[in-house]
Amino acid sequence: MELSKKEKSKLVRIIAALCMFAVVFTVDLTVGLSVGGGKWAWLLPFALYLVIYIVIGYDVLWRAVRNILHGQVFDENFLMCIATIGAFALAIYRGAVGEKIEGFDEACAVLLFYQVGEWFQSYATGKSRRSISALMDIRPDYANVRRGNELVKVDPSEVRVGEIIVVNPGEKIPLDGEVVSGASALDAKALTGESLPVDVKEGDGVTSGCVNLSSQLSIKVEKEFYDSAVSKILELVENASSYKSKAENFITKFARIYTPAVVTIALLLAVVPSLVTGNWLVWIYRALGFLVVSCPCALVISIPLSFFSGIGAASRHGILIKGSDYLEKYDSAKVFVFDKTGTLTKGGFSVVKVTPTNRKDEILRLAAIAESGSSHPIATSVCSTYSGEIESGFTPTVIAGEGIEAKKDGSVILCGNASLMRRYGVKFEPETDIGTVVYVAHDGKYVGSLLFADEPKPEAREVLSSLGNLGCRTVMLTGDNARVAGDMAARLNISEYRASLLPQNKVEELKSIIGGKNKGEAVCFVGDGINDAPVLMSADIGIAMGGVGSDAAIEASDIVLMRDDLKGLPLLKRIAKKTMRIVKQNIVFALGIKLAILLLSALGIANMWIAVFGDVGVAVLAILNAMRVGKID
């Protein structure tokens, strides 16, 4: 258990006061402190308890005085002082008129437990804040920049775009850039929650905040520090709880009327029944009991603490949330609208079918030879699928809109669509499956065909069905034609899709979905955050995924999935649900207990002991409950 200095010294004080209290209280109960009897019998117990009272409560007394001077009337410190000093006064009065001396112990206990509650609150919030700052370990402290022939250690903010920085094993990458020399493995766990290291080599882009694991890298800086991923992420997380949820606003509004209301009722309780019955002692005592429960802090603290824990739990899984209101809204999200390409699908072309299969190697080999000089996505896909060595020496000629003809010493490879085959009079077997087809012919003879299509992400189907099981509607938006979209929708098992949409149509489509939703529900839009910023912004909750380092994504969205993995969506649903359940429990539970104590003290069933136990107890339980949000896997 790590404690701050302040927490430590207060804990020592509480324990010291508790020990003193235990001794005095035991002696009081067994032997009795009222030596001598008579008019001044109250003096010894008063003096002993007063010492304890001052040890435990001098800061409360001091703050009460100071805040009254500042015009803070309904200040909790002040009310605690009134309640306890009132109890002392009643006890002295009882003693002076010869009644049984009691009440000093209560006054001390009230302040003692009040302080225990305060201490626990500050411990819990401190702990929770520390857990977030541990997450913030991604902040780089320095950069080794090459200037002239020297390597200089400077603050990351002093490095300019285009400079070369050197990152040694064990160091954090301070700025976004591209590897110019070296190869290594990077640990991106703090950024994305992904525990597998990522391999990088020359030419790869790297994100600031990752830790270099194995060997030295030289990186050409592409973004200045304030623009780098790490700055954007830190800014987002640090400001996360500034956007307040409805639950938080409700509770602060409630607290605003709660304290004055309790104090007014306490006043009435002290005066009105006393005037009727003439029994001032009893009713003043009950009113003081009222004041003990007047502090709303536990209630006020447990709500933001719950949200904070929820946001923290999400960040540990690489999900960044811009504010507690989005966590609240996400829980009520009933419609998930997805962009197709790059979000539900891998985006890009993969070889999904080779016909005939027994000539797969031959077809790929020839296609790779023909396509090797091209930068078309299909060419890249072919070359990355073919694992063997690509024969060189062929001269490719691009036939626009049809394909490629590659020649070497009289050998001709044709690689392209149906019209290319027809142009050269090659007989081929048409491919009927959906996707982009490339036919391959060698020396005038047909060899086979390759079918390319965008593939669903491996987790997409499962994620969509688990969202469906949670009662959410899922919709896919795409620019593809209806046939391709329908095929993909069937493969993903997504019930609704809108095809042939231009980018601007996507916004309209989303708006019409939002227009048709039920009240109190929220519509999420999930996209890659690069091309769909306007759509992200018009959704109730814009979710960008896999956009580590893209400022457009971070700015336009409300939630960022740092990892390019849709599984974050149902996971966040669980976190949001748990957070909201705990928030509601805390509101109902804390309010319920407080009202019950108020009622019982008014009726004289609860004395001050019960009141303070109940009040502090409810605070501790609400806080423990709030911290439970963070424990989710």
């Binding site: 500042h70 919030t125 640090e238 500034s242 956007y243 307040k244 709303p296 949200f307």
Partner: protein
């Protein structure tokens, strides 16, 4: 202009709410948020009088919770 200030020793959630209400009443403040968990004060106010408004906000916060420091 909108600016975020760090706060130190903001120990009481209810005080944060009180500060927020008090700052909102200052003339020229468009919006304000006191973030208890994040210990951050976000003020949006008129550009021309921004510094004076922040001075006033600091004073108001001191009144509510004298131990709390706003780092500028």
């Amino acid at each position: 202009m909108k600016k975020v200030f760090k706060m130190r020793d903001l120990d009481c959630a209810n005080c944060a709410a009180k500060m927020e209400r008090a700052i909102a009443k200052i003339d020229g403040v468009a919006s304000v948020s006191v973030n208890f968990m994040g210990q951050r004060l976000t003020i949006e106010a008129e550009d021309s009088r921004f510094d004076a408004i922040v001075d006033e906000a600091v004073k108001v916060c001191k009144k509510v919770e004298p131990d709390c420091v706003i780092l500028r």
